[in-house]
Each structure stands twice: as C-alpha cells, then as structure tokens.
C-alpha cells in the first residue's frame, strides 16, 4: 500500500471516528439490537404513555392512567397466538404467584393487552384469561377499544408487531413495568419472571 504518513494519520483518525460512532450508536458496545436499545433507553428516561381507552374481558372501559399510584405490569398479546404469547401468559402467572398476596390489586396489578383489536372480543379475552388463571381483577385481559389507537400505544411502548405470514403475528415480547407515576420504567425478558417479580416486591 502506498499510503504515506499522511494516509496513516488520516486512516487512524477515521478509525478513531468510526469507533466513536459505533460506541455511541451501540450505547458503548452494549446494545446491538433495537430491543436492547429500547430497554436501555427506558431505564435511562422513563416514558409517558398516551391515554388510550381500553376494554377488559368483562367489557369495562378503563385506561392505563387509572392505575396511577400503583405499579403495573403490562404485556402485549393476541389471544389466537400459540407460541410466544403462551410463554407470556405463563410468565405473568409466575409473576402473580411470586408477588406478595396482600399487595396484589392494592399496590401492584397485572394487565395483558391485546393488539389484535379487530378479532379479540371480550369473550376471547376472557377465555385467554381463564386459560392462564387470570382473576379478571388484579390481572385483567384487555383490548384497545379503538383500532385507530393501537398504533400510537404500541409506538409509545416501542413494540413492533409484524404479520408472521401464517395469519398470526410476531412481536418483541417482553414484560413492561409502569411506575406509580404511570410512566414506563422498566422492560424485562419474558424468561425472567421470577427476577421481575422480586424486583417489584423489593420496591413495594
């Protein structure tokens, strides 16, 4: 290579710059995927969520803001799902069982939200809840009332739902925690429900 000294210096500078860009673009070589980045960003700065009208398995209307003053665990599902949402259901069940019984409903609640507003009517939400042992009070299954509000809510959470080509959906499944101020404060892996529940219990 005929690179002279100037070329070497320039090459070094470009490499340094490149490392800098990679460093900041991956949060210091920790977040290589959008999902890790989303979780890290939420931890750094909790995010406010829009007031979206929800409807639970009994047809009751409510919103996320109704839970202010309590901790709220949120997961996104669709009831026809036979893969990851089953793990989500099982994970939530484990969270519920791990939490102190006296705090349930008073200091902390669980909410499964369906993003398939068109197909998931209250009846199918109810069936889903029963399958996983949700009581419908401390752990409710809900759908977004107006289909137009699905996209804004998912975007606020940073959840991306794409069709899986077989009539279902694939999405970045996780367990979300809303703080007492109603902000999204923490996102956890679905295969770590016990750790998630323990973190909640310790902040009660």
């Amino acid at each position: 290579m005929k690179a002279g000294r100037a070329g070497l210096v320039a090459g070094g500078l470009v490499a340094l710059l490149g490392f800098g860009v990679f460093w900041s673009a991956t949060d210091g070589f920790t977040a290589f995927t959008a999902e890790t980045a989303r979780r890290a960003e939420i931890l750094r700065s909790p995010r406010s969520l829009p007031a979206v009208a929800l409807e639970d398995q009994d047809g009751r209307r409510f919103s996320l803001q109704d839970y202010r003053g309590r901790l709220l665990a949120v997961e996104f599902i669709y009831t026809r799902c036979t893969t990851i949402c089953r793990s989500l259901g099982m994970a939530f069940r484990q969270v519920r069982e791990r939490l102190p019984a006296q705090a349930l409903g008073h200091e902390v609640a669980l909410l499964s939200i369906s993003f398939d507003a068109a197909r998931d009517d209250p009846a199918s939400l109810k069936a889903y809840g029963q399958a996983f042992g949700a009581d419908g009070a401390h752990w409710r299954i809900a759908r977004i009332h107006s289909p137009a509000e699905v996209a804004p809510l998912l975007a606020a959470f940073g959840v991306v739902v794409i069709p899986d080509g077989m009539g279902g959906f694939e999405h970045n499944a996780a367990i979300h925690l809303l703080g007492r101020d109603g902000k999204l404060t923490q996102i956890s892996d679905i295969d770590q429900p016990v750790e998630f529940a323990d973190r909640i219990a310790s902040s009660l």
Binding site: M1, K2, A10, A15, V21, F22, F32, T33, E35, V160
Partner: protein
C-alpha cells in the same frame, strides 16, 4: 455518453428511493441486507467511475490516499449491518435518508476511489477480509440467541445468515477463479518464440 450514463445512474438511484422499491426490497431481511444495501453501495462505485479521472485522483489525494478511504468504507458498511441500524432505518425516515446517502457516499465512492491506488496486495487483502467477515457475520445471524430485528421474523435472520455464508463461499471461489484466468506473461526471461505468442493470445 457520460451524461447519458449519469442520468441513468441518477434515475436508478431515485427509483431505489421510491416507496414502491423500498417497501419491496425492505420487506425481507435478506433483500434489505443483501440486495438493497449492496445496490446503494454499487451506486456509489458507479458515481466514482463516472467522475473525470483527474477529479477522482484529486479526491483521492485530498482524502490522504487509499488507507483512510478503505477504513471509512469498512466502518460505514459495518454500521448498516447492525440489526439496530436496520430497525432504525425502517422506523425512522431520517435514519432511512442517512442510509440512502451514506451507503453510496461513504461506502461505494471511497472504495472505488481507493481501488485506483490499491496494489494487488491491498485489493487481495480487502477481498479476503471482506469475505471472511461476511462469513462471520452470517454465522452471527445464524447463531443469534434472540430475535435481532423487531421488524423481521425470527426465521429470517437464520436464512439471511446462511445466505451470507453461501455468498461468502461463492465470492471466495469467484475471486480465486479470477486468479486462474486472463493476464499476460511478462516479457522477460522466457524465450519468446512466435509459437508461444500464439498460445498466449489464446488463454486457457
């Protein structure tokens, strides 16, 4: 002639940027990574080739020679191989614009300029490194324990990874193959009879 070529190049580039072409190429991870991104880089290569030779040389000197340009192309191209960057390009128009600008200008153009100055060793080094990095990247996508892109199905990352490995093998075989054909015998030492010359004019 040159003007004609420039207009065609511009038209192709603009076509790639149309929503139709974008959604077609970005619908699958494999076409996004292995078709759209290389095409954008190739546009940069063509752009460089369409510049007057004096202009190319001036740019090359101004940038400090081949080395910084190769390093620049290395970092810029690696950046768009990050799953996080792919997701960002799909969700954020600004990132998508950055992708459309940086791939031709920071990958294709610098490589094409550097290529003029690179010796056979430099070119071979770039090729062999690129090939082995492509194979390793393919493995990373195959072996990834999590879904790396929120916008693509989990099965796709495996198939895209395998495509990269296969492409690396194909490129390697192709590159080695080029060393077996063409070229001329240097006019030294060998007693050059006319019979020899006839043979050389007809390479195997």
């Amino acid at each position: 002639m040159n003007l004609h070529a420039r207009i065609s190049l511009g038209a192709c580039y603009l076509f790639l940027a149309t929503p139709v072409a974008r959604s077609a190429l970005e619908a699958a991870m494999s076409t996004h990574m292995l078709l759209q991104i290389p095409l954008l880089a190739a546009a940069g290569v063509l752009l460089a080739r369409l510049l007057p030779v004096a202009r190319q040389d001036a740019l090359l000197t101004a940038c400090g020679g081949a080395l910084p340009l190769v390093v620049l192309a290395l970092f810029a191209s690696s950046y768009w191989m990050l799953p996080r960057a792919l997701d960002a390009a799909l969700g954020d128009p600004l990132t998508e614009a950055a992708k459309f600008i940086s791939l031709p200008l920071l990958v294709g153009l610098p490589l094409a300029l550097a290529w003029r100055q690179l010796t056979a060793i430099g070119r071979g080094f770039v090729w062999t490194n690129f090939i082995s990095m492509l194979a390793v990247l393919g493995w990373l996508y195959i072996a990834a324990p999590v879904r790396v892109c929120n916008n693509y199905l989990v099965d796709e990352q495996g198939s895209t990874g395998w495509l990269m490995v296969k492409l690396a093998l194909l490129l390697f075989a192709g590159w080695l193959g080029t060393l077996f054909v063409g070229g001329n015998v240097a006019p030294v030492a060998v007693p050059a009879s006319s019979r020899d010359d006839a043979r050389q004019a007809n390479p195997a």
